[in-house]
Symmetry: C2
DNA sequence: CCCCATTACTTGGCCGACCAAGGTAAAATT
DNA sequence: AATTTTACCTTGGTCGGCCAAGTAATGGGG
């Protein structure tokens, strides 16, 4: 094995007592890991469509809302404005999105999905159905609704926590069912 | 060009019927949103410690395991090797981590947390406790265990799905309690 | 003994995502 | 009417994260 001068496989260097199991207890880690795996799965089903994970979020919003002010889009997806700007630049360059100045407000932009992107709509919807299936494959109906409910609660909690001391975001993200 | 003749504020371009509510139904979106909020919250509690969200994952692993081969670390955290490499470069530059060649294998590296990083250990642990509290604030005890259980199941499912057709990863991520 | 597959890591490129700071235009105040 | 404030977006920088490709060393057949 590793012929090191120190022969004892010290589990901890000189650090104070390490209660171990720091990594499995917290739900926080589970969220991170699940999110990462989910993103990878998303990337896999979206790859053939020429979309990168995260973009489908924006496109779905645009397909759903039609032409909107960019600020509205930003509120809807709940992301940082700069993030949306750069994503839109790439989506525009890919031909999925069109932007034009808002005649009513010269600093604003109107964003909409292009006609050619409509073909994508169907496939993205299908891909997301597949992703959803993959995600919830091991859960029965009641577990699924329960998971959705719990995630909604956590989202609301975190939203309140994050908003506190920050900007007023994610009010649009928590629309319909679960109030914020 | 920019002068468009369309004056009507069409809610949807020419796309086929948009069943709407594409965004709230799927658990997938909930996962994404919760993950994002959670990451922001993590960044907030870690900011004063000089760590970026994601790094605490690696550091905790190192504090827990002591000096390890980089490949072991990679398997443990379940991230892409290149991701870990770059993270370690930054952590090394920050003085939190030390790397040295493995005498037994000249292509491998041994990684360990530095002594100075041990002070961080306590604070990171505290910060993660706070984060966990913030995350689960709105849930009672039974809901918390249920959420953990469901996330574990989803993780296992996604893990299997992602592993299928890809590399053999995330077996180490699903260690202790929940089998993969 | 040499060749070749495997392992271990690095580099480069790209994207999502954040923050911080900037610039321009509309709205609010004075 | 002039000035301040606020809103809307953009740019630059940094990180986490992926993939794809490359380098170097180990180890297993022929």
């Amino acid at each position: 094995m590793t012929a090191d001068a120190a022969q004892e496989p010290r589990t901890t260097p000189e650090c104070p007592a390490t209660p171990s199991a720091v990594l499995d207890g917290p739900v926080s880690h589970a969220i991170s890991r699940v999110s990462r795996l989910h993103r990878i799965a998303a990337g896999r089903v979206l790859r053939d469509l020429g979309l990168h994970p995260g973009q489908e979020f924006v496109m779905m919003q645009l397909w759903d809302s039609g032409a909107v002010r960019q600020s509205e889009l930003i509120k809807a997806v709940g992301l940082d404005p700069s993030t949306v700007t750069k994503m839109l630049q790439r989506l525009e360059h890919s031909g999925h999105v069109r932007r034009r100045p808002d005649p009513a407000d010269r600093r604003a932009s109107l964003v909409e999905a292009t006609d050619t992107s409509c073909g994508l709509l169907v496939e993205v919807r299908k891909a997301w159905g597949e992703l959803e299936r993959q995600t919830l494959d091991g859960l029965d109906a009641s577990e699924r609704t329960e998971l959705a409910r719990l995630l909604g609660k956590v989202e609301a909690t975190l939203c309140a926590e994050v908003t506190r001391g920050g900007a007023t975001e994610c009010d649009a993200a928590l629309k319909g069912p679960a109030a914020c």
